[in-house]
């Protein structure tokens, strides 16, 4: 392995860790703000550092600091099982985090003849890794619920486990039909397959090629992440808080953060398998590299209006009503952020203009394409996370028997049917 490969691998690992870990506070904040705005409330919007609120995202960091310094409490009756009680949230969190590591953030980077995967774990069996590690998380939930010696915790853990078993089947079968379609178990190859077109004009995204498998897999992934409408495992109206009833402070926070990492991972898997991953529609990596100057000029032209729109939105909304006596320095924050945004837009524009003037196939172009794909990936990831959040605050929770009914009576037969149809079509196309 050359120095270059080591550097790229390290950068990718840091990027993956940042994307998974830094996304937690952002998602917790987004959850609370989006929920508030959906219900015509404001949500947390005041916590600030020197007057910089960033819409209130600082609140999440304050919450984490509070949880870290909170008293560690263990119920007296757990006895010798304390180590397992402590380990349980870590298993859930670690599993969710590890499952994220096989998602490709960009196409293979070719630098001086070396092909490097932009993937924290550069493996070719990404989907198997996800299925294997992603379902380890449930073990942490079962341990947590079981070790608590508490009826509610045990019920929550049992619900989580049974729910996982019922939907793992549908999820696996849905993914198998996608594997049949793509003919690969490598996430990156799946994304490359999706850069083509179907019927001549539609981008060959999984959701357009296999709509049924997409619906089944997305529903099953909602269950996998234990989120509404399938959050019966922590149904607070019946079983207090489910499997983490007895957990406090950072142990609770581990479960809590694990849920958000799992949601982030599920979003990443969905966009990688069904929404073209890091690809722009109709633009494969080769097309992007060859015609990068066109794309660069398009961004150069489109970036200033986008930034202008954002600044206008910020100047309108980073204010308070005239009836409020103080604005907590929001005017100053808006001013500073306006200058920062304009400066960033100018720098990005200058870099893009410079790159577009370079000869074709330059190293800078290759790196720029990779960075662009990472940006697209993050944008899609955020969009899907917000979709997850909106769904949570739209739908009421399914009753427990309805969850099982949906899993076994609808999704399982549908996914089997889908596999047969897919297999017939794939064999028909091949022969």
């Amino acid at each position: 392995m050359s120095t270059l490969a080591v550097v790229v691998t390290l950068v990718t690992i840091v990027l993956a860790a940042l994307l998974a870990l830094l996304m937690i506070p952002v998602l917790v904040w987004l959850e609370r703000r989006v929920c508030g705005l959906i219900q015509d409330r404001l949500g947390p919007n005041r916590t600030n550092v020197f007057g910089f609120r960033f819409g209130g995202v600082v609140q999440s960091f304050a919450d984490v600091i509070k949880l870290v310094f909170k008293e560690e409490y263990y119920p007296a009756h757990i006895g010798k099982g304390r180590w397992l009680f402590m380990l349980a949230p870590m298993i859930t969190f670690a599993a969710a985090l590890l499952a994220f590591m096989v998602i490709p953030f960009a196409d293979d980077l070719v630098l001086s003849g070396e092909r490097m995967k932009i993937q924290a774990l550069p493996v070719e069996y990404g989907i198997l890794w996800y299925l294997a590690i992603g379902s380890v998380g449930i073990i942490g939930m079962i341990f947590g619920g079981w070790m608590s010696h508490n009826k509610y915790s045990l019920l929550g853990a049992l619900r989580a486990a049974s729910q996982m078993i019922s939907y793992e089947l549908a999820l696996g079968l849905g993914i198998i039909s996608m594997i049949l379609t793509y003919g690969t178990i490598d996430f990156n190859a799946m994304v490359q397959w999706q850069s083509g077109t179907v019927l001549g004009f539609l981008p060959a995204w999984g959701v357009l090629v296999q709509p049924l498998a997409a619906i089944i897999t997305i529903v099953a992934l909602f269950v996998e992440t234990n989120r509404a409408p399938f959050s019966v495992a922590e149904g607070e109206s019946e079983i207090v808080a489910g499997f983490f009833t007895e957990f406090t402070a950072m142990k609770f926070a581990m479960y809590f953060m694990g849920e958000y990492v799992a949601m982030n991972t599920a979003s990443a898997v969905i966009i990688t398998m069904f929404f073209g991953g890091y690809q722009l529609p109709w633009l494969s990596t080769e097309a992007l590299t060859t015609h990068f100057s066109v794309v660069a000029w398009a961004i150069v032209v489109l970036l200033p209006p986008a930034v202008w729109l954002f600044i206008r939105w910020m100047r309108k909304n980073n204010t308070v009503r005239p009836t409020v006596s103080t604005d907590w320095g929001r005017h100053f924050e808006t001013k500073v952020l306006t200058y920062v945004l304009i400066g960033m837009a100018v720098i990005i524009d200058l870099i893009l203009i410079y790159i577009s003037l370079l000869p074709e196939g330059a190293t800078a172009t290759t790196i720029a394409v990779t960075l662009l794909q990472i940006a697209i990936f993050v944008a899609k990831l955020m969009a899907f996370n917000i979709f997850f959040i909106i769904v949570r605050w739209t739908l009421p929770r399914f009753r427990y028997d309805q969850v099982q009914w949906l899993g076994w009576r609808y999704l399982l037969p549908l996914s089997l049917l889908n596999i047969f149809i897919t297999a017939i079509v794939v064999v028909g196309v091949a022969s």
Binding site: L37, D40, R41, T323, V324, I390, V391
Partner: protein, 172 residues
Amino acid sequence: MTNRIKTVPRYGTAAKERLYLPAIFEGLKITAKHLFVNVGDINSVETLEYPEEQPTDITPRYRGLHRLTHREDGSIRCVACFMCATACPAQCIHIVATERTDGIDEKMPAHFSIDTLECIFCGYCVEACPCDAIRMDTGIFSVTGKNREDFVLQKEQLLAHKSAFGEDTSRA
């Protein structure tokens, strides 16, 4: 009785409803509309920025913090009859009566305290008072203090509270 039976139609059996997805998208449309309208204009959200922005919709019938009323000559109206303390379901009114020597009336409270930590703001004391001596029309809805004693309002504090809606009538 038979003509009063109302048959409620059962929903959820049609094929479109059993698919779940159309209904889910309909719901998503509604919540997303709320989200985007509010993101586009955050100040259209009705939430009060509370400590800086005070509520403006407190009506004369609102049961705020108590006050003891005065007579025309400015002395206390209360005659220490213990009606309010008897009516109080939370038993938070404590009165010590004393003889009134200035000839205006026969009795007055030496001490009159309301423990606002116990008080449930039901307004029964105002209802019970035969002299219109206690009212809850101050419009004060927030009591703060650093220890428990701060929340026990004494006679002097209760007398010092002003009505938010004029002295004329008791509406509570």
